[in-house]
Subunit: 189 residues, 2 copies
């Protein structure tokens, strides 16, 4: 019997594709085995278990997102950078809803430490160089930006803003305007 050429990496990538097609929740070891036309047990040589598979997909998504963000931020500053980073998250979530959901997967501390999570925080912080904030306000602002990006994108993806005018692109633009104004004029204690 010819071999299918399974590796943890190929499984992870295929899992990410599967997530985008059917949703991260529906990614299962069985479904993945079916996709490779291979028996389920075969996957267990490459991936520890279902949780491990999901963790790998999450890490992949976080890497991809961080790569896109790094590229988008290069050569930009101020509001330009703010918008670019925000759009990276929003676009990624729309192009790859399953991967975006995966990026929200609760990682155990070990995995979290090895993830691109730190790069994300770094890049958000980098944006603030274009504004005049010092610690601890800078950290507060990093958290605010993270909250807005994540909150908006997941509400929009979940259909939270659906059935109402005005359209979400308009809102997104205005929210970024508002955040820019807020960062330029951050209130004192």
């Amino acid at each position: 019997m010819a071999r299918a050429g399974l590796t943890a990496d190929r499984l992870t990538r295929a899992g990410a594709e599967l997530a985008d097609e059917v949703g991260f929740e529906q990614v299962t070891v069985s479904a993945l085995a079916r996709r490779f036309d291979v028996k389920v047990a075969s996957l267990y040589s490459h991936v520890r278990n279902s949780h491990d598979l999901k963790t790998r997909i999450a890490l992949l998504a976080l890497e991809e997102l961080a790569d896109r963000a790094a590229e988008a931020l290069a050569g930009r500053a101020g509001k330009d950078a703010l918008t670019a980073l925000a759009d990276v998250y929003r676009d990624y979530a729309r192009e790859h809803p399953g991967r975006y959901a995966a990026a929200q997967f609760r990682l155990d501390p070990a995995a979290a430490a090895a993830s691109a999570g730190g790069r994300h925080a770094q890049m958000t912080r980098a944006i603030l160089r274009g504004y005049d904030l010092t610690e601890p306000d800078q950290t507060h602002a990093v958290r605010l930006l993270g909250s807005v990006f994540h909150g908006y994108v997941s509400l929009e993806l979940g259909g939270g803003f659906s059935h109402s005018a005005p359209d979400t692109q308009e809102t997104w633009t205005r929210i970024l305007d508002a955040l820019d104004a807020l960062l330029r004029n951050w209130p004192e204690r």
Copy 2:
């Protein structure tokens, strides 16, 4: 054999408790049957299927949250109201993480329409009466507030802000200050 006295309502409430104890993801028809010391199949007379059970728990959580929000908003306006509503979400998520996760469960359109979702939007809009915003900015602001509340709470709950100073209470306070300032000084087009 004595009857256990199952009803859709009791199952839903027990399911919500179970969610808070073990996580919404882990709420299963089997686990719930175990909790009532009853055979699994018995639940299917009261609840259509696993998805239906989760939907009911989600609707319960949305109701509870809306009730708390309504009570918190009574007699408050401006920043006072903003803070009160924000705290309702954050406190609820901390007290009832499983229910809060349930409230994020993707509802099908029929369920969504019958949910307390509309009340939530109404209450956020009510807060803006204390600020000077007209449409469409009011809608943009409603969406921004929803994004921040949801985004912050879920990142905090997921441990996103864990291993770093300053503490999250401080950030939360400063973010609400910032939002208040932003709403009082909403940028023109």
